[in-house]
């Protein structure tokens, strides 16, 4: 009884205190939340300024029909999807799309295969391993301007070292950069060379994370080198491979500098990719066509986004199984 009265009395006394406590808690919570916003603000501001606003501007440019006049006065008429249908109907679009597709898939196939092969090669310990691996990183470390200019000199029709070599071994010289059949191949070669180190580094570190005892167990069970690669290395590298391929895809899709320096998308449109075309539309002549260029840019963004979704789905499936 006494206890209950005591507790009741206590409860009566405690009620206002509790309320006060709750108020204090709320104030504290609000303060904490404010502080949290303070911490998150730089990121949000950065994201809005560097990603959201440019993206919004790009979409805005592409759904209005901007001429130089309306670009200055700012009263471009709303065009809906007219700019998009315009670029789809343009003869350059089909060529640029085909070139982009070939460029991306052939680049990635070779970069990935060669990068993986080199990673497996370097996973074995041998003398000069580190030195050789460091040498393979050179293409990655050079400024793209330097490597692209060097490739362009090497592949020059008349004075390039590649044609000099071809002549020396008795083969016919090739107009690498100036023939419509070879120009895309020439920029592909340069791009594959530049992309190998990226694949090598990521696949190599992926290989390091596979425990040695799995390989030991496999070789005790009698698995040969080939089997060990296809049954152990390759499946265990799948998550690393997926992210390498996705990143490679996005990088290659927007490759601009190598092609621009080596061929400027030419001869004619034979090495024009969507990224090159977008640049040509907005900065290639004295009369910029910003709306069409923005539309081409948005098509590229959508393609990259679709592939990112495919990656996320594949990854999700991998995790659930």
């Amino acid at each position: 009884m006494t206890r209950s009265t005591e507790s009741e009395a206590g409860a009566v006394n405690a009620a206002p205190a509790k309320r006060r406590q709750a108020k204090k808690n709320k104030a504290q919570q609000r303060k904490a939340q404010l502080a949290a916003w303070g911490f998150i603000a730089p990121v949000v501001i950065y994201l809005a300024a560097a990603y959201a606003y440019p993206l919004y501007r790009n979409i805005d440019l592409s759904i209005h029909s901007y001429t130089v006049t309306s670009f200055v006065t700012g009263n471009a008429p709303f065009a809906g999807f007219a700019e998009y249908t315009g670029i789809f109907k343009n003869a350059t679009f089909a060529a640029a799309l085909l070139n982009t597709t070939i460029f991306v898939f052939v680049s990635i196939a070779f970069q990935f295969a060669i990068g993986l092969a080199l990673a497996v090669f370097f996973a074995k310990r041998f003398r000069l391993n580190t030195l050789l691996r460091a040498l393979f990183l050179v293409p990655w470390l050079l400024p793209l301007l330097v490597s692209a200019s060097t490739w362009s000199w090497m592949l020059n029709s008349d004075s390039g070292i590649v044609n000099a070599f071809l002549k020396a071994v008795g083969a016919a010289p090739i107009d690498w950069l100036t023939s419509p059949t070879w120009s895309l191949i020439a920029v592909l070669i340069a791009n594959i060379w530049i992309g190998i180190p990226f694949n090598l580094v990521i696949m190599y570190s992926g290989l390091q994370s596979i425990p040695d005892d799995i390989f030991e167990a496999a070789s005790i069970d009698g698995a040969g080198g080939w089997q060990r690669f296809w049954r152990i290395t390759f499946p265990l590298l799948r998550p690393v491979s997926a992210i390498t391929l996705l990143l490679g895809f996005v990088y290659t899709l927007k490759v601009f500098d190598i092609i621009w320096i080596m061929t400027r998308g030419g001869p004619a449109t034979s090495s024009t990719t969507l990224a090159i075309w977008s640049y040509q539309l907005s900065f290639g002549s004295f009369l910029p066509d910003f709306s069409s260029a923005a539309a081409v840019g948005n098509v590229l963004i959508v393609v990259a986004f679709v592939f990112a979704l495919v990656y996320i789905r594949a990854r999700h499936r991998l995790e659930t199984t």
Partner: protein, 436 residues
């Protein structure tokens, strides 16, 4: 409940923050007008400020040019600054890369903070004028009386003049006298396409390269093709005419017969010149700006021949002084005074000598020739030169030019015959013009 509520609050907060940032950014971009450039943001506040500048008590005038290579201590900057001092104002000079300058000028016009004076490449004048970014000489009071009409051409659109040229350069045919004498070619005999091609054949016979030019897929390619295009009698409004096909066939035949190296398809004017400098090439189509390096290697120059004899019309290169639209129109008088100073004969001759330009006025050209007689070839070349945007083409020129260089590329690389390439170009150009 609370979790949901706080999540909702977070989402709303994020949305608000994003909005706030965008608004702040927009405010920044429009607010920077006045502080950056000294252009009054609001007409009311600015007028008093500017009228005091016009009366000579100072103020800052902004000047943009495409010469980033000249720093603050260069003669060019000193001339610009002294012209400001003479007009009682300070000039803030900014040098941009040529291609960046067009975009910068358009952006500045969009945001209402254009520079007071803008020096731009001549084909850009029509683009900026169409955008409504430039004042006419009638509005700004610049005088154009002494300037040769063919050089002024690029600045004239629909009867209005939008600027004055700083100088002009153009193309001619450089030759290597050593190779020509070895091959037994007399440079004076080259007066038409057939005599030139015959000379190239003789050069090839002694194991040297005939000619280099820039057939690249940029404006440079069109610029270099135009003397042959115009020299055939072709007109830019009809780029698939038989005359145009003849001009493109001339180039493709040179490539096919090995008179011109295959690399011309991707050569810029600079790389084509480097090939000529090796001493293995007889002829090079190149510009006034190479005359110093040409003299060093002993190269001489002749006019580019037209198809059936005589000099072919060549395109003019070079920049124009323009006065962009300002909210405060009282600034034009001072800007015009500054431009008049920079383009006065004494000053412009000095500038044009540094920039390797030919002066746009008779008086200026005479002063240049009396100081350096080797310029006489170039002065006569500029005399027969034509503005690319002339013939009232204006902003149609960039659209036509883009198709023209694409056609040149297709024919050179063998992707299409000259006539097929040019007729495709004509219909693409017509479509682009009707769209714009």
């Amino acid at each position: 409940m609370t979790v949901q509520a706080s999540r909702k609050a977070r989402a709303v907060g994020a949305a608000l923050l994003t909005l706030g940032t965008v608004a702040a950014l927009a405010a920044c971009s429009s607010g920077s007008n006045s502080s950056n450039t000294g252009t009054p943001a609001s007409t009311g506040a600015g007028t008093s400020n500017a009228s005091s500048t016009a009366s000579g008590s100072g103020g800052t005038y902004n000047f943009w040019d495409p010469y980033p290579q000249y720093n603050a201590t260069s003669d060019w900057t000193k001339l610009v600054e002294s012209c400001g001092t003479r007009s009682g104002v300070t000039i803030k000079r900014t040098g941009y890369d040529t291609t960046a300058l067009t975009t910068q000028a358009l952006l500045a016009a969009q945001q209402g903070n254009a520079p007071d004076i803008l020096l731009v490449d001549n084909p850009v004048v029509s683009t900026l004028a169409k955008a409504g970014a430039l004042t006419t000489t009638a509005q700004n009071g610049l005088s154009t009386g002494e300037i040769a009409t063919n050089i002024l051409g690029a600045g004239v659109i629909n009867g209005s003049t939008y600027g004055v040229p700083i100088g002009a350069n153009t193309l001619a045919l450089y030759y290597n006298p050593k190779i020509l004498s070895q091959a037994g070619v007399n440079p004076a005999s080259i007066t038409s396409w057939s005599t030139l091609t015959a000379a190239l054949a003789k050069v090839k016979a002694i194991g040297k390269t005939g000619i280099t030019f820039s057939g690249i897929n940029t404006e440079e390619g069109s610029f270099q093709f135009l003397p042959w295009f115009w020299g055939s009698g072709a007109n830019l409004t009809n780029i698939d005419s038989p005359q145009a096909v003849a001009a493109l066939t001339l180039w493709t035949t040179w490539l096919k017969d090995g008179y011109a190296p295959n690399s011309v398809i991707q050569d810029t004017q600079t790389t084509a010149w480097q090939e000529f400098q090796t001493g293995n090439v007889a002829f090079a189509e190149n510009g006034t700006w190479q005359k110093a390096t040409a003299a060093q290697m002993g190269a001489k120059v002749i006019q580019i021949p037209a198809e059936n004899g005589g000099s072919a019309p060549v395109p003019t290169g070079g920049e124009f002084f323009t006065i962009p639209v300002q909210k405060d129109s009282s600034r034009y008088a001072t800007s015009a005074k500054i431009v008049q100073c920079m383009s006065a004969t004494d000053n412009i001759v000095k500038t044009d000598n540094t920039l390797n330009y030919i002066a746009p006025t008779k008086a200026g050209q005479q002063a240049q020739e009396s100081a350096d007689s080797s310029l006489s070839d170039w002065i006569s070349a500029v005399g027969v030169a034509k503005a690319r945007t002339g013939d009232n083409l204006g902003t149609k020129y960039p659209l036509i030019s883009q198709q023209l260089w694409t056609a040149v590329q297709k024919a050179e690389s063998g992707a299409a015959t000259p006539s097929a390439a040019l007729s495709a170009a004509q219909s693409a150009a017509a479509a682009a013009i009707s769209k714009g």
